[in-house]
């Protein structure tokens, strides 16, 4: 009996592309894409089901299609794309709750893969240099994406307790970057003049979009379970990244960056959020030892290599050599 994979959040680019690559994978028989709105691009061999994960219809889809693997990637980072913070929160938290409830009721489900993010670790001056998977945030987030992700992870842990027979993989991905990614961090780097926080130079880690797709597929098809940080090797300082991007930066005091951020948000130029300002002040590093040893996943791009690829898509010729892509 082959695998039937259900992918949530296929209307967004990363979700759609993952569903397509999964459909092309010979070890996967069927891929069912679920979202509220139909995906805009080519979905290849994916069968799309228009369903809202916020209501119990989803459990019918899982039962009817005999789904054994669920890949949940519809946790969204910005209110802009969802149409407001309330909708975003509902999609993220209520959607996850409904989906997990449906999975719990479906005896056929064997694997659950959740795309989480390193944002759960927060960013503060008390952070250790590198977070490992068993560390938590030093300050619990009180709002926004970080809080949503924290709650989502909490529900997923609860589900893993209640259904020990289901292998649950939680992938905490670093900031995904690449030529096609539209996210707060890429729109930040796409600004012609980039505001930075005066006197701080955060450490950044990136994950290339291709590596994200690869790790999701790897997690959906192997037998391993657990929580894993996923990021490219090495770190980049923000100042270094901006130099490599040949962008001008304007150092502003922290509060002014926040103000600029909300202006940019209302002008729909970039999506700034409070947790992003914390990130751009203190930075974050995650330890990826477990990703290599336990999950046995080796990203193709280093942090610097992923950034170089992103920079090339903005028309910046890479002048900095070395350590880009692993062969």
């Amino acid at each position: 009996m082959g695998r039937v994979v259900l992918v949530t959040g296929v209307s967004r680019d990363i979700g759609r592309r993952f569903a397509r690559t999964a459909a092309a994978d010979p070890s996967i028989d069927r891929v069912i894409g679920v979202d509220v709105v139909p995906p805009r691009g080519d979905i290849g061999g994916v069968s799309f089901v228009r369903a809202d994960i916020r209501n119990p219809v989803i459990s019918k889809v899982i039962a009817k299609e005999d789904v054994d693997t669920v890949v949940h990637m519809s946790v969204i980072a910005t209110p802009g794309s969802a149409g407001g913070r309330n909708t975003m929160k509902e999609l993220n938290v209520i959607g996850t709750m409904q989906l997990l409830a449906a999975c719990q009721a479906a005896p056929g489900v064997r694997r659950l893969v959740v795309k989480s993010t390193t944002t759960v670790y927060g960013a503060s001056s008390r952070d250790p240099a590198m977070f490992t998977e068993d560390m938590g945030p030093k300050r619990l987030p009180r709002s926004g994406y970080a809080k949503d992700v924290n709650e989502v992870e909490g529900y997923v842990r609860g589900f893993a307790r209640r259904r020990p027979d289901v292998a649950v993989v939680m992938l905490r991905a670093a900031n995904v970057i690449g030529p096609h990614v539209v996210s707060p961090i890429t729109s930040y780097f796409r600004l012609p003049v980039v505001p930075t926080v005066l006197g701080f130079d955060p450490r950044l880690q990136f994950l290339h979009e291709d590596d994200l797709l690869a790790v999701l597929r790897h997690a959906a098809t192997t037998e391993i379970s657990g929580t894993f940080n996923v990021a490219g090797d090495g770190v980049l300082m923000l100042s270094q990244a901006l130099r490599r991007l040949e962008r001008t930066s304007v150092p502003l005091p922290g509060f002014a960056v926040g103000r600029t951020g909300s202006v940019l948000r209302s002008a729909r130029l970039a999506d700034f959020s409070p947790e992003q300002i914390g990130f751009l002040t203190f930075g974050r590093g995650v330890d990826t030892t477990r990703m290599r040893t336990d999950l046995d996943f080796h990203p193709r791009f280093t942090t610097a290599g992923a950034f170089e690829d992103f920079a090339a898509s903005l028309g910046v010729t890479p002048r900095v050599r070395g350590g880009g892509v692993h062969a």
Partner: protein, 395 residues
């Protein structure tokens, strides 16, 4: 300028063989060399290079009319034929828009480079330009803690070195106690109102052993703008057990000041009295990773900013541990920030081995307290011995 006539070239202008041409017009006024022949360095650019002279010309003073213009070291045979070029200088050639010939610019540049980088200037200059380019393009690498080795070595430690050597005249003992490789934990007393002792220890350790000391810093450091990015760049990380153990496992030489703010912020009257050594977290980190603990005693840092007063309420308002008042600060304004030039003695004690213990014994609080006390007592006794030895504070 005695030789003020814009006259023709001296007859014995060497045609070839001279390597060094002084800046500009050989000391004569007027622009351009007035020669039809391209300058020496312009010719050098085309032909095979000669090795550059090690010494720049001694003085730009005007040479005697019949002496060779260039004070070269190799004997130069005067040219057999009379210089034909000099008379061909026309008014058009003297046009100021023609400016200084590129060759002369190159010469001047070469001279300046030699002044700046001496003998090996070509390689050094190339290195420097490559360095500049790397910085501007962001082509350097940092480690996972944000440590920028190149920047630290070239700027940060280079700036600290003269302070350590000339201002504080630091005398170092027991450098051989620092392991040449592998993880080790240097534990030091902390004093001086501002953590200058940490910076000096970093400079001393790198100068004497070539290793980089990775300091564990309080979280206040990472909250302050500018200080935070400088701290990460120079190799510091947060003083927490996760980072300490990670660095020690990675084989780094880690520096810790367990007294923390209680140490640097203590009043001058309590100088050289060690405060509580935290909760012994540094000992458990060393026990878990099995690295040696090197006790370090620093004498001299107490006197650089004698803390005679404190503004606790203002400090609480600003969220800092204390606001110092020293005999010079804030009365003299920025001048009060200049540390007093006390004489420093720095002694690295014999390493305390922890690899004999089982890593699980890090959970034994009694053992941790005992080792903490041992380290603290060693440092305190060494401090007393060094103080007796030092003599006058500013001597």
């Amino acid at each position: 300028m005695p030789d003020s006539r814009p006259g023709p070239e001296p007859a014995n202008e060497p045609e070839q063989g001279a390597d060094v041409i002084p800046i500009g017009t050989s000391g004569r006024p007027g622009r351009g060399s007035g020669r039809a022949r391209p300058s020496e360095s312009a010719r050098n650019l085309a032909g095979p290079r000669r090795t550059p002279r090690s010494k720049p010309p001694a003085s730009p003073g005007p040479p005697p009319a019949d002496a060779p213009v260039e004070p070269v070291e190799t004997p130069v045979e005067p040219s057999p034929e009379p210089p034909a070029a000099t008379s061909s200088t026309s008014a058009a050639d003297r046009d100021p828009t023609a400016g200084i010939p590129a060759g002369d610019w190159l010469d001047a540049f070469k001279q300046a480079a030699m002044e700046l980088f001496d003998d090996d200037w070509e390689r050094r200059l190339a290195e420097f330009l490559a360095f500049l380019r790397r910085r501007l393009e962001g082509g350097y690498a940092v480690d996972e803690y944000g440590f920028d080795q190149e920047m630290t070595e070239r700027f940060f430690l280079a700036a600290l070195r003269p302070i350590a050597e000339k201002w504080f005249r630091i005398e170092v003992r027991g450098v051989e106690n620092i392991p040449a490789e592998g993880g080790a934990l240097i534990v030091s007393n902390h004093s001086g109102t501002v953590p200058v002792d940490g910076l000096m220890t970093m400079a001393v350790v790198h100068d004497r052993t070539g290793r980089f000391l990775r300091p564990l810093a309080a979280d206040l450091i990472f909250r302050l703008p500018a200080v935070s990015s400088l701290a990460r760049r120079s190799g510091a990380t947060l003083a927490c057990s996760e980072d300490a153990e990670r660095m020690l496992r990675g084989g780094e030489l880690v520096g810790v000041w367990p007294e923390g703010f209680k140490g640097i912020g203590k009043p001058f009257s309590e100088r050289y009295k060690l405060q509580r050594f935290g909760r012994g977290g540094f000992v458990s980190a060393a026990l878990r990773t099995g690295v040696p603990i090197v006790p370090l005693s620093v004498v001299g840092a107490e006197e650089i900013y004698p803390l005679v007063g404190n503004l606790p309420s203002l400090a609480r308002l600003l969220g800092v541990p204390y606001i110092p008042i020293t005999p010079l600060f804030p009365w003299l304004g920025p001048l009060g920030l200049v540390p007093l030039p006390s004489k420093w003695l720095v002694e690295f004690g014999e390493p305390i081995r922890t690899d004999a213990y089982d890593p699980a014994e890090a959970e034994d609080p009694m053992l941790v307290f005992n080792v903490t006390d041992q380290v603290r007592e060693t440092i305190q006794q060494t401090l007393y011995a060094l103080l007796r030895e030092r003599g006058p504070v500013f001597g």
